[in-house]
């Protein structure tokens, strides 16, 4: 998948969360996403960035702008070396209306993007990759 642009942003403080989502706004705008798609990606980024900062003890987000023929996309890799998630299944199936802690952030973010991948285990940190295509 041809990556036309890529860089890394730190996720240590809550100000980094704001920076990250503002940057994702800019990326999705430049990629020509519609307003709703932009907002979904920005919101997903906010959720995942917060997870990394608040539950992951800090981490980074690597962003990529993808071009596949005429298709353009934005991919984000959120990485932290935190405690990891013990029960991934549970974390991902937090329902519609329950809204406590990290669960909603993960399952919610999953619904806002086209592709979602997660790797996490206790003591091994967490890595979440999300992609949205125009």
């Amino acid at each position: 998948m041809p990556i036309t642009k890529s860089d890394v942003l730190p996720l240590r403080t809550e100000h980094d969360i704001v920076q990250a989502r503002q940057h994702v706004r800019k990326l999705t705008q430049e990629a020509g996403f519609g307003l709703v798609d932009q907002t979904k990606m920005v919101t997903a980024a906010s959720e995942l960035a917060r997870n990394a900062v608040t539950y992951g003890g800090g981490g980074t987000v690597r962003w990529e702008v993808l071009t596949e023929g005429v298709r353009r996309g934005v991919r984000l890799h959120f990485i932290d070396e935190g405690p990891g998630i013990a029960d991934l299944q549970q974390a991902l199936t937090d329902g519609w209306t329950s809204g406590t802690g990290m669960g909603l952030g993960l399952s919610g973010a999953k619904r806002l993007v086209n592709e979602f991948e997660i790797e996490s285990a206790p003591g091994r940190g967490t890595r979440v990759t999300v992609t949205r295509w125009k």
Partner: protein
């Protein structure tokens, strides 16, 4: 900006959120509003989010909290001006903000607050008789 200003309009408090809030700012707003309601005895709170391009679960929960807490303090909260893209995203995220009262804009929001005040006044009057 380290705090979001809260304006007082008669018996109501008006908050206009125009910045991309970091988490602490949102929490500070929550605290400031509740102490304001208590201090001023305000009967209603109007939160204008028409400038917000994004509401995530943190801000969503802040709004829900403000609504619940103000109700305990005998004030009503109305959230106005949510943008279509934000509404669609919030729903997809899984937040319905069920207990939060909403209105299309500040004018209608104020009308909603005034009406509810009247109803409350009538109810009180009935009670006293």
């Amino acid at each position: 900006m380290d705090r979001i200003p809260i304006l007082r309009m008669g018996e109501f408090l008006l908050v206009t959120i125009q910045v991309d809030m970091h988490d602490q700012l949102a929490l500070t707003l929550q605290d400031d509003l509740t102490s304001s309601i208590q201090r001023t005895g305000a009967k209603g709170v109007l939160i204008d989010i028409s400038a917000l391009e994004m509401v995530d679960s943190f801000i969503g929960r802040m709004i829900a909290n403000i609504s619940s807490m103000s109700r305990i303090l005998d004030a009503r909260t109305v959230v106005v001006g949510m943008r279509p893209a934000v509404a669609i995203t919030l729903v997809e995220l899984g937040l319905s903000l069920a207990g939060v009262d909403t209105a299309l804009d500040v004018e209608r929001g104020m009308r909603r607050l005034r009406d509810s005040l009247e109803d409350a006044g009538v109810a009180r009057a009935d009670h006293e008789e």
